[in-house]
């Protein structure tokens, strides 16, 4: 292992489904001698490619979970996070992209830039990930790398520049021309292990010269030295590499490589490009949030002797127990170290420290800044930050939004019944926005999360990963109730049915609260309610907030002020005052003109600009309020606020409206009063129940 962080690359391999990404990863592991045989994704040999560790992935030939692996190439250490390629599994992609420093964007030489490539590329843009592009499947019928480069420029807005040209195409694809070294490169032996360079075939020389000119033009924008060298005709390979690296890291240039992973062509030069052009951890500025300074952003320093900051970005059940994948941002971790979880301040002792290679592992004793490693038996959630305890930093905000949608689930059979609990336990750890509980009244298991798709993914995972098949109910929006005006109460709870009686009078008023969900104001004077009974009054009111009278949802933003009351020296008790508060709440609540609040989501839709009108119309139809629309040449981002209740089925609707070329994200924004018509409908449904 190489210890200097400069010689480390943390990369992802991102692409749309079926662009050959898993085959490419397999070949990379083969050439870097991490594996000694290659298999097909949908392998006839029944082994399957190395990075597809989950059952579902093997079955579908796609990669859902981000397994991490590492390899060495020319004295450099490369950690590869295999990012998912399916558009629906974006939580996994976003999480993987968080820990990457660079990425290979894989494109199909036949299919070109497809809607999923657009999605994946946008995700990388959002996470500011520099990338090199690899146009795969140049051996396939209909392959045209030049067309794909053009699409990269026009459809993805990349300043894409070819670093190679093909030698033959489709069935005749036999190698590439390296436009920096100006040599023809061929890949021999059964699996292309032997790289052979020759002179460029004369018939391809003109084209290579033209493309080299384009490359030099593009690269010289990032280096005055190269610009001068071009004028003086003294260009060196180092100058070109340096300029391309600068352009790539600043994300202003995308070097494009070509090949065929399946035919073992072009993989080694792509590995060289990872070393030459993608950043090391020291080239990237990472930030954390200082929890001691109200989550103020602070810079991290990629140094092994700095205080430790590491992010748990993935949890995985392995045959050896729970594995926690960590990215170390600064400092180092070694066996026996004590780590502190920023979220709950729990201390853990590092037992086994491993590097993962898909399903296999390698035990190590120490890992430094920049590295990606895995720990065994760590009790934590995905997204937790670990430090050495000397600082209180978090890599992600500790503010976890409340779920806005819920769904009942019921196991289809007894086997599923057992596995559901295991699955839910796992998911809760992986994702803090996912919750699960058993409803006291109905006894049903309820899952809740941040959107319809969010929950659908977990239901699918229950089935695939845990063999738990469940039936789901209709998604329920987390409505809330709130009062809209002040109302007074004066309630006497009196019960005399033999034995000790119950007596308590509570008087005061309730009014809407601007900030916070509940406030209890004690303005009792002269001991009209004895101090020992005041908490019982508070408890009584609080119990009423769990279920509003209007439609049975929790009540928010209410202040209760108690300013009068009465007690009985014998018959008053905590229970009596709790009951008095419940009666007082019921007495005043409807007078306080309660309203129903609904969750409003901040929705962001990215689409090619020609679909802006369609997207806006679709939001408008859903009671949405469009706040802005931003164009950047090719794409438009429409931002809007839309009631969650109207967002069911939006993914499907958006797909059909935009030929699958748009994607949307949404997050909870606020609660707002529902319109009168919706309110009436909800009340009537509640009454029916």
């Amino acid at each position: 292992m190489i210890s200097d962080t400069k010689y480390l690359r943390n990369i992802g391999i991102s692409a749309h489904i079926d662009s050959g990404k898993t085959t490419l990863t397999e070949r990379i592991l083969f050439y870097t001698k991490k594996i000694f045989a290659v298999h097909e994704v949908r392998g006839k040999d029944g082994v399957g490619a190395k990075m597809d560790s989950m059952e579902l992935e093997k079955e579908r030939g796609i990669t859902i979970s981000s397994a991490a692996t590492y390899c060495e190439w020319n004295g450099y250490n490369i950690n590869i996070i295999d990012t998912p390629g399916h558009v629906d599994f974006t939580i996994e992609v976003e999480r993987a992209l968080r820990v990457l420093d660079g990425s290979i964007l894989v494109l199909c030489a036949v299919g070109g830039v497809q809607s999923q490539s657009i999605t994946v590329d946008r995700q990388m843009n959002r996470n500011k990930v520099p990338r090199v592009a690899f146009i795969n499947k140049c051996d396939r019928s209909g392959s045209d790398p030049y067309r794909v480069v053009d699409q990269l420029r026009k459809r993805l807005n990349h300043n894409a520049v070819l670093m190679q040209t093909p030698i033959g195409l489709e069935g005749n694809f036999s190698g590439v021309i390296d436009l920096i070294g100006m040599k023809a490169v061929y890949f021999e032996e059964p699996f292309g292990e032997k790289v052979k360079t020759e002179e460029i075939p004369p018939s391809l020389l003109d084209e290579a010269m033209n493309k080299r000119e384009e490359l030099l033009d593009a690269a010289s924008m990032f280096s005055d030295k190269l610009m001068e060298a071009i004028l003086e005709d003294s260009v060196t390979e180092e100058l070109i590499h340096e300029a391309v690296r600068k352009g790539t890291i600043s994300r202003e240039l995308t070097p494009v490589f070509i090949g065929s992973a399946y035919k073992n062509i072009g993989i080694q030069p792509l590995l060289d490009s990872v070393i030459n052009y993608l950043p090391s951890p020291v080239d990237i500025e990472n930030k954390a949030l200082d929890m001691d300074q109200e989550e103020k952003e602070v810079s991290l320093f990629s140094k092994p002797d700095a205080p430790l900051v590491a992010l748990a970005f993935k949890l995985e059940v392995s045959p050896y127990g729970q594995l926690t994948y960590l990215r170390i941002y600064q400092g180092s971790i070694k066996k026996g170290d004590n780590l502190v979880n920023t979220r709950n301040k729990n201390k853990i002792k590092v037992g086994r420290l491993v590097r993962m290679h898909a399903d296999e592992m390698e035990e190590i004793s120490k890992a430094n800044d920049g590295d990606i490693i895995a720990l065994f038996g760590v009790d934590c959630f995905s997204g937790d930050t670990f430090t050495d305890g000397s600082i209180n930093y978090a890599m992600t905000s500790m503010l976890v939004p409340e779920p806005v949608i819920s769904l009942t689930i019921s196991p289809k059979d007894s086997k599923s019944n057992n596995n559901v609990a295991k699955a839910l336990n796992r998911f809760i750890r992986e994702d803090p926005t996912f919750r699960s509980w058993v409803d006291e009244e109905s006894g049903q298991t309820i899952i809740s999360g941040m959107g319809e798709l969010h929950l659908e993914i977990y239901v699918e995972r229950m089935k695939r990963e845990f063999g738990a098949e469940v039936e789901t109910g209709i998604p329920q929006v987390a409505y809330r109730e709130a009062i809209s005006r002040m109302a007074e109460f004066n309630y006497v709870h009196k019960k005399q049915t033999g034995g000790a009686g119950q007596y308590g009078r509570v008087a005061g008023f309730m009014d809407p609260l601007d900030e916070g969900d509940y406030e209890f104001v004690n303005q009792i004077k002269g001991g009209v309610i004895p101090t020992e009974f005041v908490p019982a009054v508070d408890k009584g009111f609080k119990s009423c907030l769990k279920k509003g009278i209007l439609i049975g949802y929790p009540v928010l933003k209410v202040r209760i002020t108690v300013n009068d009351g009465q007690y009985h020296p014998v018959d008053s008790s905590e229970k009596a005052f709790t009951q008095a508060a419940v009666g007082a709440f019921k007495q005043a609540y409807l007078k306080a003109k309660p309203v129903i609040l609904e969750p409003i989501m901040k929705v962001s839709v990215e689409c090619p600009s020609e679909f802006q009108g369609n997207v806006m119309a679709s939001i408008n139809q859903r009671r949405g309020m469009i706040t802005s629309s931003a164009e950047d040449g090719v794409f438009t981002t429409v931002e809007a606020e839309v009631p969650l209740a109207e967002m069911f089925g939006y993914a499907t609707a958006l797909r059909s409206l935009t030929q699958g070329k748009a994607e949307f994200t949404m997050e909870f924004s606020k609660y707002l009063k529902v319109p009168k018509s919706v309110e009436e409908e909800l009340i009537s449904k509640h009454k029916e129940r």
């Binding site: 629309s629 931003a630 164009e631």
Partner: protein, 232 residues
């Protein structure tokens, strides 16, 4: 909401011939860099919004998030200063009647804007009264561009307010007293207002009022902290 109109920088128009810019017309707010063009332009938008109009704010330099944050900061000043009780309600009202269109990475084209306005009108029934265009490069433009804007203003029955950047080192004014870079196409604008920082304070000065020949200075003094009109 009437309270705002008393402190609005557009009070200057009370001294103008038509008291407003008017549909189908172009207006421009001109000033040097860093004086507060964008803030002043947002007050122009607020003035229209508080008169129950609808606004499309077109930004050619800033992202929507940044524009929204400008609005939020200025609104906060307004709410504080006017001691508004129904702040949340007013905010919701303003948000409902304002849409921001941003054209980033030099992606602005008049045809695109026209198409987007059509989308707003036809697809979501949002018919703006005023278009605010911030960041349009007057120096790189010719009168054809403004003629097309004028056409657009007529077609959509809107008024369009621009911001224009003047330079300290270019003192050139045309024979009608209009400074560079508006001097070449001032005939296409109905109202031209200059934001002027002086030693005495910050002033808005009316440089062109439709076809009226201005015989005396029409100015209002602004509070440099929040651009509210200071009664003199």
């Amino acid at each position: 909401m009437e309270k705002y109109l008393k402190i609005s920088p557009l009070k200057i128009l009370e001294k103008s011939s038509h008291k407003e810019l008017g549909k189908g017309n172009l207006g421009v707010l001109i000033s040097r860099a860093g004086v507060g063009k964008t803030s002043c332009l947002i007050h122009v938008a607020l003035d229209r919004l508080f008169r129950k109009g609808k606004i499309v704010h077109v930004s050619l330099k800033d992202t929507p998030e940044k524009v929204i944050s400008y609005y939020n900061v200025i609104c906060l000043d307004v709410f504080k200063s006017l001691d508004m009780e129904d702040e949340q309600e007013v905010r919701t009202f303003l948000d409902k009647n304002r849409i921001i269109l941003a054209y980033l990475k030099e992606s602005f084209e008049l045809d695109r804007l026209s198409k987007n306005l059509k989308n707003l009108t036809e697809d979501i029934n949002f018919k703006p009264d005023t278009l605010i265009i911030d960041g349009f490069d007057f120096e790189e433009s010719d009168s054809n561009a403004f003629e097309e804007f004028k056409e657009m203003a007529k077609e959509f029955q809107i008024e369009i307010w621009f911001s224009a950047l003047s330079h300290r080192h270019i003192n050139k004014v045309n024979e009608r007293g209009i400074p560079f870079p508006c001097s070449n196409f001032d005939d296409l604008f109905n109202l031209i207002i200059q934001l002027q920082p002086t030693q005495e304070g910050l002033f808005l000065k009316l440089l062109k009022d439709n076809e009226v020949k201005l015989t005396s200075d029409i100015t209002v003094r602004l509070d440099p902290n929040n651009f509210f009109v200071i009664e003199q």
